[in-house]
């Protein structure tokens, strides 16, 4: 249990530095620290598949973010928005936090999953019958590739669409029309 608190302390400090530092590159590096902290946390929460995926995605995301921030000259923007607006936003964020903390009291204690107490839940079926039904030793891969395969199909569709949008946005010139003569 102590390791979770230590990792959370690390991630919260990194998050505050990422939000408050003036240099964008330092901010991006702090995002990397949070990401690898989350990955370690997944490992200690007994989710090795997620930890591996998180490391890969984290590295790619850092490359994308550094590509956006490095070699931009005007990366220092001083000051926040107008004072009144900042105060109102902070108050609203605080109210959301205080309201949300009360909701966590309705959840069971940390370490006692909900699916263990409800009979006939989907997770229990996956765990008890997943190996016989799919033949996959890893229950997580049995869920994403067999029980909920359409979910994964939708995921690839979203990924393809977003990369298509990024490619269209970053293209330097539009393609020439068919009848146009070369300059």
């Amino acid at each position: 249990m102590t390791i979770f608190y230590i990792l959370f302390l690390f991630m919260l400090v990194a998050a505050i530095i990422a939000v408050e530092t003036k240099k964008l590159l330092g901010s991006v590096i702090c995002i990397g620290a949070i990401g690898f902290g989350v990955s370690l946390m997944f490992l200690f929460l007994r989710a090795p598949d997620i930890a591996i995926t998180q490391i890969v995605v984290e590295i790619l995301g850092l490359i994308i973010l550094i590509r956006a921030t490095i070699a931009r000259d005007l990366t220092f923007i001083s000051g926040d928005r107008e004072f009144f607006g900042v105060v109102v936003s902070v108050v609203i964020v605080l109210v959301i936090f205080l309201a949300g903390v009360h909701i966590f009291e309705t959840l069971p204690e940390f370490g006692t999953p909900i699916f263990a107490e409800t009979t006939g839940s989907a997770s229990q079926t996956y765990i008890s019958e997943g190996f016989q039904k799919t033949g996959a030793a890893n229950i997580v891969s049995a869920v994403i590739l067999d029980f909920r395969a359409y979910d994964t199909l939708g995921e690839t569709t979203i990924l393809f669409t977003s990369i298509l949008g990024a490619t269209v946005l970053l293209r330097k010139k539009s393609r020439k029309l068919l009848g146009e003569v070369d300059a």
Partner: protein, 115 residues
């Protein structure tokens, strides 16, 4: 208590998204919120002293049901992490194009959005 810390991280991301003027800082706030939500979903399925949801040779199955962590949030968060990478690439490409057009990341300077 751990849930509250996770929500505190989400709140830091929300504050960053709402208050900051720099476009990349807003993206960073969104990324922090994504991490917090993924972490919260995985924490919901954790069981103290549990094992990873992988069947090992020589496991007793009835024992496995009582000791494994929840595999369903793990499968869904796996999807969410990959999608967050795609959306991050899209957002950053929008930021890069905006910088090329206006020469700044400051959202109060970008006023000629009407075309």
């Amino acid at each position: 208590m751990l849930y509250a810390l996770c929500f505190l991280m989400f709140t830091i991301g929300l504050y960053c998204t709402v208050v900051k003027k720099n476009m990349v800082k807003i993206v960073i706030g969104i990324v922090i919120m994504e991490y917090a939500v993924n972490l919260f979903l995985i924490m919901l399925g954790y069981r103290i002293g549990g094992v990873a949801p992988i069947v090992v040779e020589g496991h007793v199955l009835g024992n496995f049901v009582d000791s494994s962590v929840d595999p369903l949030p793990q499968a869904l968060v796996l999807t969410a992490i990959v999608i967050s990478l795609g959306s991050l690439a899209l957002i950053i490409s929008i930021c890069v194009r905006t910088y090329e057009k206006y020469g700044t990341f400051d959202i109060t300077q970008i006023r000629r959005l009407k075309g």
